[in-house]
Amino acid sequence: MIRIAAVGDVHFGDDSAGSLAPHLETLAGNADVLLIAGDLTKHGLAQEAAVLAHDLTGAPVPVVAVLGNHDYHCDEQDDIRHGLELAGVTVLEGESKVIDVAGETLGIAGIKGFGGGFAGACGSDFGEPEMKAFIRHTKAASALLCERLSALETDYRVALLHYSPVEDTLVGERLEIYPFLGSYLLAEAIDSAGADLAIHGHAHAGSEKGATANGVEVRNVAQPMLQRPYTVYRLGYSDQSEESATATRVG
C-alpha cells in the first residue's frame, strides 16, 4: 500500500508564509509522499516560490510537484523550479520520479499538460499558426506523458498534471471554458500507457472525482475546490475490515 497526499493550486504569494507548514506536520504517519499539482505561485514569481519552498522544508515525506499556468506568467519558471529543488522538492516537466516505500515502488510521471478541450468540442491542429501551436503544445505534452508513464516499471504508477485529462472533474466550471481547463489527449495518453491514478489541479470550481474511458481514476486536487490542505489517496489498500473504503477523516 502506498499513501499519496495531494493538493494543487496553493497559489503562494508573499503573504502565504506559514500557511501550509502546520498542515504538513500531519503527513507524518499518514502519507508516504506529497504531490503538488501545479499553480504553486500566485503571480509566477520566483520569490513567491521561495516562500513556498520555506514552508515545504519541514515536510516529513518526499515532495513532488509540477508547475501550472500561474507559474509561467512572469517567465520565471526556471527560477521557480530551481528554488524548489534547492529545498528538496522534485519538480517534474515531462519527467518521472520513482519513490521506494517499504519495499514497494511508486512511479510518478509529471507534466503540466495544457488545454484544447474534449471529445466533440475541442480545438484542432489546423489554421493559424497560433491555433496550431496551441494544440501542438498539448499533443507534445500528451506524447511525453505517455512515454514517461510507459517507461515506469513500478508497483504503482501515477500521472501528475496541472490541466485536467477528463471532463468529469470539471463539473461545476462553466462549460464554455472547458477547452482552457484540459484536454482529452491527456486522458488518451494515460489510457494508452496505463496508470493507477491521475492527479490534476487548475479547476478551482470543478469536482474532485472522475475517471478516464479505460477506468483510470482521476482526482482534481485544486485546493480552492477541496477546501482542505490536501487529500490522501491510498493505492493497494486491502484490509477492508480496518476502515471503510470511502472517505474518512485522517486527523
Binding site: H43, Q227, T231, V232, T248, R249
Partner: protein
C-alpha cells in the same frame, strides 16, 4: 459612463494580470450600474485586493465585493482501487 458587460470582462482580465490579485476565477456580473464580484480567495487580504483593483478599473461602477475566503477543513482519506 454606464457600467457595461464589456467592463466585466476588462475587469476579469485585469484581476488575472494584476500582481495584487492574479485570480482567474473571480466572476464579475453587471446589474443596475453595479459590478458584483464573486468567487473564492485564500485570505482576507486577497479579498480586499480584488475589491481595490475593481474600484480602480471601474471607477464609474459601484463595486459589490461578494468574494469569500476559503477556510480549510481537515484532510480526507480515500482508497483507490
Amino acid at each position: 459612463m454606464s457600467c457595461s458587460d464589456y467592463d466585466a470582462e476588462h475587469l476579469r482580465d485585469e484581476l488575472a494580470r494584476d500582481e495584487r490579485v492574479s485570480e482567474l476565477g473571480i466572476e464579475v456580473s453587471i446589474s443596475g450600474g453595479k459590478a458584483f464580484l464573486s468567487g473564492k480567495v485564500s485570505s482576507a487580504e486577497r479579498r480586499e485586493a480584488v475589491g481595490e483593483v475593481a474600484r480602480e478599473i471601474l471607477p464609474h461602477c459601484t463595486v459589490v465585493n461578494e468574494v469569500t475566503v476559503t477556510v480549510l477543513n481537515e484532510p480526507n482519506l480515500e482508497n483507490i482501487g
